[in-house]
Structure formats: C-alpha cells, structure tokens
Amino acid sequence: MSGSQYQISSDGNASRLTLTGHWTINCDSQIADSIINDFREEPFRTVDGDLVESWDSSLVSLLLRLDQEAQQRDLSLKFQAFPQGVLELLKLARTVPEREGSGKNKEEQSFLSFLGDKAITDYREAISFFCFLGESVKSFYRLLRGRARFRATDLRDILSDTGPEALPIVTLISVLVGIILAFVGAVQLKQFGAEIYVADLVGIAMVREMGCMMTGIIMAGRTGAAFAARIGTMQVNEEIDAYRTLGISPMDFLVLPRIIALVIMMPLLCLYANVLGILGGAVISIGAMGLSFTEYWQQTLNAVDMTDISLGLIKAFIFGIVIAITGCMNGMHSGRSASAVGDAATSAVVAGVVFIIVIDGLFAIITSLLGI
C-alpha cells in the first residue's frame, strides 16, 4: 500500500504535524502542496516523523520547503523523530549556499524590451548574413587564385548528394506540378475551346517559375537542412575549431565545396524539372483532352523561348547560392547542443524558403517592368 497520510493535531497552543506511512516519490504529489498550504494558513511548530515507514528524497524536499516557509516567517520549526538519514540529507541541502550569480535571471520581460531585443538580434543576424556572404566571396576569390583548398573527394560526395540523389523527389514533384497546372488550365480553357493552349500555360509556368521554385524549395528542405545539421554537428564536436587551429579555413574547406556543388546542380535540376513538368502536362493533355503528343510538343516549342528558359536557370543559379549560404551559415553559427543543431537546421530551411520566394517575387516585378 502506498499510503502517505498526515494529520495536524494541536496540543496546547502549538500545533503538530504527524506524518505516517510511505513518503516516497511514487505517492500522491498533491499531498505535499496541501501540507504547505495548511502551514501557510496555520503554522505548526513541530513535525513528527516517528511513524514514517519508508522515505526518499521527496520527503526531504517537502521538509526543506517547510523549513524555507518557516524561515520566511521567522518561525522556528522542529523536526522530531525522523530517521537519521533524512536529517543528514536536510542538513546537506541547507549548508550549501546558492552560489552568487548562479541563479538565472528570470525576470518577466516587458513588451517594449522584448521588441527591442528582437530588433537587435534580427539586426545582428542580418549583419552576420552579409559578413558570411562576404567571407564566401573572399573564399571564392582565394579559390580563383589557387589558394583555397578542399578535398576533391568531398566535392564529389557533395555533388552526388545534391544532384543524382535528389532526382527521385524532384521527378515526383515536377511531374505532379505539371499535371496540376494542366488540370487547372484545362478546366478554364475548355470553356473557350482553347485546350491547345494548355501547352503554353504548362510550358511557360514551368520554365519561368515553377521549375526553379519547386527545385529550390525541395533543395532548401533537403540539402539546406543537411548542410546546417552536418556543419552544426561538427561545431558541437569541436571539429570546426580543429580546422581553424590547424590553419585550414573552414570557409574554404567546408562551405566553398557546398556552394560550388549547389551552384552546379541547381540549374541542372531545374532543367530536369522543366522537362518533367512539361511531360506531366502532356500526359493530361493527351489522356484527358485528346490532344496528340506532336501537337502538344509543337505548341510548347512555340510558346517557350530561350528567354524564359534562361530566366529560370538564372533564378535556379541564385537559389543555389542562397540555399548553400543559409544552410552553411546556420551550421557555422550553431550553438553547442543538440537543440541548437536542430534550431540551425530549422532556420536554414525557413530562411532558405523565404529567400527563394522573396527573390522570385523580385524577379517577377523586375521582369514585368522590363517587359521580358
């Protein structure tokens, strides 16, 4: 039976608390709180532990709380007939004073100071992003002068990670996007009997926008997070420090090959996504609208020109830089704990996706102003 009971009796003018039964970590947690509440309402002067059958540190914790309550009220509280072990542990807990300044400041923050703090952190983060960008450019410059070095095998591994191994997911997503675009277009265009223009819609949308944007988002989630987690873990293991002290720049050795790999792979993946998206559209047009493949293909070739394709590729190239930099930067700036690495991976993905959408929006505005 896990019975822990207490009873408050008063003999004369001083009341006494008697504890009976088993006072272990498994017993009812509310009982301790109700004892403290009783004490606050009507302080007792003696605690009797003669009838305690079993105990562990939860009993010591209760007594310590009672003791602190009593001290706050300048009351004396006597612990009577407790097992010797309980009293020894209580003494141990009381003799070590809290180290000065060791308690964290948990003051409630006002909204204004929260806002200020947030603004300062965001400002610093923006600065550090540009610093990191600058560092990468310097590192690239060193590479051009033949001073920066990384292992060819590393670059090869990263290229294969970011390129061929991303093909299945890119295939799936782009075919589906092509199919969705074709369906949306088909329903609307059917009303005018202009089904053939589905090819224009799918072709232009894929090549100009969806191809590079979907690959960008896939790669931000897949590769950006991987970069951040990998480099963040190296930060935790002091591996980055080990590079620094050996005079090997982590920028050159870790970040540069990742940027190069993504800058090479993103346009290629984007091109691949364009083709598959158009094929996805073709499947619907042929299957559901009775167009022939030649018609569809001819119409696509008429609709899409080199400008559209190169616009998509330029965006893919820029997205590659952005994903690599946000991923590596969050990894390099990661703190030294498991949760910090998780945060780094999260913010790499979030920042990557946000940047991609924002840059894509800017491109849309600029190209429409220039009439491209």
Binding site: M234, N237, E238, D241, A242, T245, L246
Partner: protein, 265 residues
C-alpha cells in the same frame, strides 16, 4: 609596448578573459619555458579551457596579451617575441602551425578515417607525396599505440582511443608546442597513466613543450613541472610554479586544499 627578451616560449601578460561582459578570469601573468609540461589547473568552470583557447587562436583576449617566441630559424635575435593577437594574420597562422591541439572530445573529423585525419594537415602544409604522408600517419598512430587502426572511422573506436588518435593528429605537423585539453578525462586509471607516460616520452624525445589543462591530481604530480592555478571565486590566478613544490610550500589554502584533495595542510 616593448617586447621582453628571456628564454620563455610563451609569456602571458595581464590577460583578462571575458565572454561579452562576463569576466571569466583577470590579470593572468605567467611564463612557459621550453620543454615545460605546464599544467593549467583549477576547479570546474574556472576558465581553464577558455585560457587554452587564447593560445590557439580561438578566442581573443579582453585585455592583456599573449606572447609567443618567434621562430629561431627566421628571426635574427633568436628570442624575439610576437604578440599573438596583435600580429598580422599570416604570422599568426605561422605560429599556429607550430602548435598542435588535442581537444576535450578528441574532435577528430568524423567523416574521415584516422589515417586521413592525420594526412589532411600533412597534405595541406607539406609537399610530401601521398605515400609518404600515409607512412607518416601510420607512424604517428603507432606512436600512440593505434597501429592497425588506420582505416577506422572515429565513430568506430572507443573514447580513449579517440583521445589518443587526437593526440596523433596534434603531432602531425611536428609541433614544438602541444596544447592538451583534459587529455585523461574519461579514461580509466591505467590508460590515463599510459597517456601521461606518452606525454613524458614525447617531451623527452621530440623536445616538445606541453600545455595541459587538467584537474587529475595524479597527472598533475606525475608530469607537471610548472603550473598556474585558476580560481573561480576570485576570478584570477592564485599562484604559479611547480605543483610538486606548491603542495609543500604554497601558503594559499585553496591551492593546498586542491592539491591534497582537502585532506592535508
């Protein structure tokens, strides 16, 4: 400021270490002589590892300076000191290449085998052929008792072996200065003793200077011939000197308590 001349290899002058506004230690002043095994000791959280970071280019001092003796081969006077944190980046790089560091966790590069860990710095900073670097890597691993483990990855070996492999990597570039952060923490007494013997042998045979962060008393007395004691409470150093003499003659209670585990004096 003028640069002093004496036979020390590292001089620390009025060093104050801080994280933002939080001061860890202030006013540290001590010398490290060539071929010393210099112990940085003190209780947990007093800034021992932080002090080490100031020697290896990972943390800039808040005040004061760290002086390294210049390379005798290239400087005219032979004992010219270089202010580690004020000198140009290229000179600091050159200084850092004379140092080897063993990190608390070993910090081996986890994506490379043990041999590759040692070959990487050799390949970066020497003109040796790949087969030569391979032989050198095997030799360094053999020195720390890990021959035959060349193709293992750090995750495949035990913690003690990782420490020793880390030491082998620290030895890669034939450093004259070795910085070890808690080399024997987490090792069983026999392995810890073997590591101590290894350190003594490397000092005697290669002529390296060691700076060791540790709070293992057995190691402190076995290998240390000079030391500095950092105190977390007063945030400064309490004394410097040979630990074997300090335990006899130091008049500071904290130091004597530390060195006798609170049992003597």
């Amino acid at each position: 400021m003028t640069l002093p001349t004496d036979n020390s290899i590292i001089k620390v002058e009025g060093l104050t270490m801080a994280y933002d506004n939080f001061v860890v230690q202030r006013d540290l002043t001590f010398d490290i002589k060539p071929q010393d095994i210099f112990i940085i000791m003190g209780g947990s959280g007093c800034g021992k590892s932080t002090l080490l970071k100031h020697f290896v280019g990972l943390k800039e001092p808040a005040a004061g300076r760290v002086l390294f003796r210049g390379d005798e081969a290239t400087s005219q006077q032979g004992s010219e000191f270089i202010d580690f944190w004020q000198t140009q980046d290229s000179k600091r790089q050159a200084l850092m290449q004379r140092c080897g560091v063993l990190y608390q966790s070993g910090a081996l590069w986890s994506s490379m085998t043990l041999a590759e860990n040692i070959e990487l710095p050799l390949g970066e900073f020497t003109d040796l052929s790949p087969s030569d670097t391979r032989h050198l890597a095997s030799l360094k691993l053999a020195l720390v008792g890990l021959s035959g483990f060349e193709d293992y990855y750090p995750s495949e070996i035990s913690g003690g072996m990782r420490k020793r492999a880390g030491l082998a990597r620290a030895l890669a570039l034939e450093p004259e200065l070795l910085f070890l952060d808690e080399p024997s923490a987490g090792l069983d007494p026999i392995s810890a003793r073997m590591l101590d013997d290894l350190i003594l042998q490397l000092r005697d045979n290669l002529g390296c200077t060691f700076v060791v962060v540790t709070h293992e008393l057995a190691s402190i007395f076995a290998i240390g011939n000079n030391s500095v004691f950092l105190d977390a409470e007063s945030k400064t150093m309490l004394t410097t000197g040979n630990p074997n003499e300090l335990v006899e003659s130091c008049d500071n209670d904290t130091v004597r308590n530390f060195l006798t585990r609170g049992e003597g004096g």
